[in-house]
Point group: C2
Chain length 302, copies 2
Amino acid sequence: MKLTILGCYAATPRSLTNPTSQVLTINNHMFLIDCGEGTQVQLRKNKVKFAKIEHIFISHLHGDHFYGLIGLISTFMLLGREKPLHVYGPKGIKEVILLQLKLSNAWTSYPLYFHELESEQSEVIFEDDSVTVETIPLIHRVYTNGFLFKEKPKDRKLVIEKAHEYQIDVTLFKSLKKGKDVVAETGEIIPNKWVTEEPEASKSYAFCSDTLYNEAIVPQIKNVTVLYHESTFLEQQKSLTDHTKHSTAKQAATIAKQANAEQLVLGHYSTRYKDISVFKEEALEVFPNVSLAEDGKSFDFD
Amino acid sequence: MKLTILGCYAATPRSLTNPTSQVLTINNHMFLIDCGEGTQVQLRKNKVKFAKIEHIFISHLHGDHFYGLIGLISTFMLLGREKPLHVYGPKGIKEVILLQLKLSNAWTSYPLYFHELESEQSEVIFEDDSVTVETIPLIHRVYTNGFLFKEKPKDRKLVIEKAHEYQIDVTLFKSLKKGKDVVAETGEIIPNKWVTEEPEASKSYAFCSDTLYNEAIVPQIKNVTVLYHESTFLEQQKSLTDHTKHSTAKQAATIAKQANAEQLVLGHYSTRYKDISVFKEEALEVFPNVSLAEDGKSFDFD
C-alpha cells in the first residue's frame, strides 16, 4: 500500500503549495482521492502513470478538492484514453462536469461513469476481489465524505515443502490458501494449519478531509492501518474550527488514538502557518506515530 | 503597454508548459485574457498584483482557455475582494461558474458581472475614457472571439514655454491638449499647433486565439501595434489545421503582414514541437518583426 501526496494544503493553490489530491496504490489499484486545481500537473511532476487511474473519489465540492477534475477528464480525452473512468462524489458533480464538456462541444473518448453520493450513512461504493471502499460521513460546511479503503483478507501462505511432505496434490493448493482442510494422496485428512501460515495482514487507509472533529467516525475506522486526517489549524486557532468546520492537529491525533490507528498522516494545512512541523509536534502530544503529508511525498506502508 | 504571458501552449497543462492566459497592462488597466487551469498560480509566480484585475476576457470555452477561471474567482473571494469583477465570454460561461459556486455553497464577497457574448459580428464590449475593447470574430471549433484593445487618441503634448510666451491662461491648457485653438491674454487667437506637439501614438493589441486562418479579420486589426496570433502548427502539419481549426506560424505571419502590424507575437504552440524557435523561423519568412510568447515572458511595448 503506497500513498503519494500531490497536494495537502487548504484553500487556494499557490506557487509552492497545492490543494488536496493524493494517489493511493492498494492491491494493484491506483485510486485518485480528490482533485484540486493543478492535479494533472502534479501527477506529471510526480511521474505517476496516471493512465492507470480508473476510479476517482471526490470528498466534497469545494474548489480545493475538485476544480482539477474537469481538466484531468479532458486530458484523458486528449490522450486518447479508452478505458472507463469512474467518478465517485457528491450529487451535482455529474451536472457540472457534463456542462463543461458540453460547452467545449466535447465528449469523452472513453466511458465516463458518475456515482453520485447523497447518503448520510456510510455505504460501500466500490468492491472487487481484493478491495472495498466505503464512505465515511464527515461534518463540513457542505456534504462531505471521507473514504475507507480496505484490502480484503488475503490468502493464507502455503508452505510448499510441507504440502509436498504430506503428499497433497497441486490442484488442492488453492483450497489450502483459502483455509480449507484437504485430503492427501494417502487418504489422510490434512488440517489446514499443518501446511499454511497466517496470511499477510490486510491493510486499510482512511481519508478524512475536510471535517469538524467527529468521534462518530471512530467505530468505522477502528484499527485502521493509516489514518489521513485533516489538521487545518492548531489548538491555538481552535476557535476557528466551529465556523469553518475544520479540525486541529490535536483533534486529528485524538481521533487516531481513539481509533487505535497504526499511523496518522496529517494534512490540509492552512497556509497561515509558515512551518508545518508545528502540526506534528502538537499531534505527538496525543498520539505517537505521526507523519506529515507534504506535496510530492510518497509513503510506503508495506 | 505591457504584456505578460502566463501560458502560451495548446491543450493540456504540463510540468513546464501552461495553457493560455496573459495579462495586458494598457493605460493603467490590467486586463486578463483567457484563464487556463493554473492561471492563478502563474499570476503568483510572475508576481502580478492580480487584485488589480477588474476585467477578464475569455475567448472560448475550451478548457485550456478557461478552466482556471472558477479557481481565480474563488481565490478572489478567499482574499476578501470587494471590487467588482467583470467577465466577458461566450454564452454559457455564467451558468458554469455560478453552478460551481452554488455546489460549493459559496457566493462572492464582491459583485461579479458576466457579459455573455453571442454575436457573430464584432462589437465593442468595454469602453472608458482611455481604452476600448472590441471582439474579433474568429473561426474555431466552438464560438470564439479574439479581442482588440485600443488606446483612445491621447492628448496633444503642451509646450509649456510656448504657452507662456503667447500669454495663454493656465485654465486653457486642457483645451490646448484636446487640440483646440485658444484666445491669449492679449486677445490674439493662438492656433493650437503653435503651442502643442503631436500626441504619443495610441497603441493597440489584438489577441487572436484560437482560430483558423481567417483574412476577414484583417480590416479590423489594420495597423495594429501588436498582433498576438496563434500558431499551433508549422506548415508541415498544415493538413491538421482544417480539422482542428488552428493556424500555422506562416499563416499567422501572413495575417500580420496583411494587417500591416508593427509586431507579431506567436503562441498557442502544440506541445508536439520540442523547440519553439521553429515557429519564429517559419514566420520570419513572411513578416520581419516576430517574437515568441513564452510562459513567464513580459513584453514592454512602450
